[in-house]
Amino acid sequence: VRRLRFRFHRPVALGLAAVLVLAACGGGGGGGEGEEGGGATRPTQEEGTPKPGGKITVALDAETDGWDPSQNRWAVAGYYVANAVFDPLVKQDAEGKWHPYLAESLTPNADFTSWTIKLRPNVRFHNGEPLNADAVVLHFDRLKKSFLTGQAFTPMERWEKVDDLTVKVTMNTPWSTFPYYLSRQGGFVPAPAQYNASDADRTGKPIGTGPYMFKEWVRDDHLTVVKNPNYWRKGLPYLDEITFRPIPDQQVRLAAVQSGDVQVMMTSDDQSIIAARKDRSLRLREEKTDEPAFFMINTAKEPLSDVRLRRALALATDQAQLNVLVGGGIRELATSPWSKGSKWYAESGWPTKPDPEEARKLVEEYKKEKGITGPVKITYEDVPTPTARQIAELVKTMWEKVGFSVSQKSVEQTEHINNALLGNYDIVTWRQFGSADPDYDYIWWHSSTAKPIGDLALNFARNKDPQIDAALDAARRTSDDAERKRQYAIVAKRLAVDVPYLWQTFTIWGIVSSPKVKGLYAGTLPDGSPLPPIHAGEVWLNQAWLEQ
């Protein structure tokens, strides 16, 4: 499951649009600074006044393919670099609300079928080119033409320059959440010169408007950025240089911080988080994400198409035991896609306590009805990692106790995803639904995307529930959060009844840093509103500073 995290995360995050990891910004730091013209400021109380200067090295969990937002795929690690070199048109605040960022304003028409994007004046790319409507139009051209990002922006029909700083986008359908999509990969605008460069330079040498300018990239070793002295957010950034280093091994990444090679690192590894909690010489900040790990069931395939068997599996699975044995017990148990801290959380009725007796009864009932003697045969699929192996052993025992016979297979990541898409599985280990807004999960849960086995279906579990459909549609039609919350509570309850997913735990992200690095978690938007301290593993380095 652990490996699945970023491997799966990457395709999903991008493919369907910003979908999973929407509100990515991290908290930045420290200092008061404002919009041009002096917006609100938020001084950091406990950390003192930011001082300019200094260099830090940041360890990431993976290398990124490249820096063309229309062609490459950015997982969490990719956004660390992208946030330094580029600026997104839109950014989300700590509450998850969107704010114009590189854009000065985004204005919809009455029915959300067109959006007018006005850009900030006097912003220049690192190569001196101005940020203007032409640059944004070129960016949208590339996004729409790309195999990767084109689908996410399907509703966009026309985009045209109105004046030097204004672009009008016309949709083929009402699209009220368009700005959120511009807060992710598709909203990071590169200089026209980058788009027009050779293939290797287009993906290898990013040119943005961001607080740091690209200096050099040695793939799999490091990417260095240096301070942009002409950054449009006056007074920012504080650091002179940041070096990003992908260090794939979790233990070694932590060791790199402990040894002082690296000053900031990200991890979603429970053992590393436990180790960092014990190390008093380091700073650790944890983020409980809304991204659950779970077992996903193919509800279109015999025998688990029978809901009684799915319920039996749920009742046979000891969530708490798995959490302790595999992750050290530090995670929150999931009962729905939303954790207790989420504003979308609602009681779902999911059984967190196992009840093997009841489970056995359900299996017996099924067997009697179908005239089956012997255990019910199912196949469990995961990816070949040590953690996945441990989990497989545990669940196999739990499920076989109540009358299943479980054969287990491990497949490589791409095939794992492929099997899910095509419905070629009984039950698989999975991690998903970490998006900032539940509407982004529409496509994973709505019956319109549940295709028959053998067809590509985004509703991987192929669960069809008219009540879920109705709730998802109703939530999409309104902007009233209270009403939306009511609708998503229905979704949570129905998912507990239909059991397409056996909920497990919520991933925890940890940021481990040297105490000398300040201002990591107190970033602000130009208008002064706070950014989330960490979101889905990302921190905002653009207001970080170094105590010297």
């Binding site: 990457r10 493919g15 490249g66 689908q151 993906t203 060791a255 402990q258 995803i417």
Partner: protein
């Protein structure tokens, strides 16, 4: 000359087989590169368009033929994902991997040769017993664990070395060479396994050589022990050691894949491993080709070295 020519023909055959086999195996792997590139939300249309763009629709032999045609002229194609020319990507990574392997071999020999000689000269002495116990102990620790252990000891507790990554010493083209200090820990991790084998081998051979008649003769003539050992016994005893060094290059290459990932070094092994995950066929193919050439060439060089070390081999080949 004839000998070299025959070896070159062998080399060509080996490469043809290796490249065809990798090509075939990669294409047998489950998982579609277009899916790896586009993600799970890829539509069928997008996948098809991308397949066409990447020439994945051509039959396998045709694709292989095109690739060989390019490879012969040094054009190994372009990465599907980074769009970087494969030859360039390999050129960036190769110097570091070669440095890592050379350094590992140097460390291994620097430890194994003196210990092997002493242990061989005094079998079952305390040096022999201690060295055997320690090297075998280390041999039984897998690379990935040993690496983590070394990092904790030498980079976290005491800090003479970097935990990960390299400091650049100088560059060869676009490839980087690390300072000896910054590559020492990974090289040591890789060297440990070699050490034990090399030491044991040298020890056994020295014991055998020391029982030869001419050594007894030298002793009878009253030559000092040290001189007998270093001048007369060492050279004939290094024969199997050299063979094993050549053959062990395979283990070193495999080990470097793990060590490079562990220590986050931008070497060839890391390139190949990440490319496999991304289904970046041409990068994997190019990388494997380079590894195969390297392996064959090294063993070829070892063959030639026999002749240098042992006049009998030279003469026998001249006669043949």
């Amino acid at each position: 000359v004839r000998y070299i020519r025959r070896k070159l023909v062998q080399l060509a055959v080996v490469l043809a087989v290796v490249s065809a086999a990798t090509y075939l195996l990669l294409n047998l792997l489950p998982g579609d590169p277009t899916l790896a590139i586009l993600g799970p939300s890829a539509t069928k249309e997008a996948q098809e368009a991308l397949r066409a763009e990447l020439n994945l629709d051509d039959p396998l032999p045709v694709r292989y033929g095109k690739w060989v045609g390019g490879a012969v002229t040094g054009d190994l194609g372009q990465s599907y994902i980074t769009r970087q020319p494969v030859a360039e990507a390999i050129g960036e990574r190769l110097p570091l991997t070669i440095e890592l392997m050379l350094m590992a071999e140097l460390i291994a020999l620097a430890v194994a040769v003196p210990l092997g000689i002493i242990a061989g000269a005094r079998p079952n002495g305390w040096v022999d017993r201690t060295a055997s116990a320690v090297t075998f102990g280390l041999l039984s620790i897998p690379n990935f664990m040993l690496g983590v252990l070394l990092i904790y000891l030498f980079a976290v507790r005491w800090k003479p070395f970097n935990a990960t990554g390299i400091d650049v010493w100088f560059s060869i083209g676009r490839g980087q060479v690390a300072t000896p200090r910054s590559i020492f820990l990974p090289a040591l991790t890789l060297a440990v396994g070699q050490m034990a084998v090399a030491m044991r081998l040298l020890r056994t051979d020295i014991i055998a050589t020391l029982q030869q008649d001419y050594i007894q003769m030298a002793r009878a003539m009253g030559l000092p022990n040290r001189r007998i050992l270093l001048r007369h016994a060492l050279r004939p005893s290094t024969f199997s050691l050299i063979t094993v060094i050549g053959l062990n290059m395979g283990a070193l290459i495999g080990g470097s894949f793990i060590v490079e990932n562990l220590f986050a070094l931008p070497g060839l092994g890391r390139l190949i491993v990440t490319s496999i995950y991304k289904r970046d066929y041409l990068l994997v193919q190019g990388g494997v080709l380079v590894v195969a050439v390297g392996y064959v060439v090294i063993n070829f060089a070892v063959d030639l070295l026999y002749a240098v070390l042992d006049p009998r081999v030279r003469d026998a080949r001249a006669l043949a």
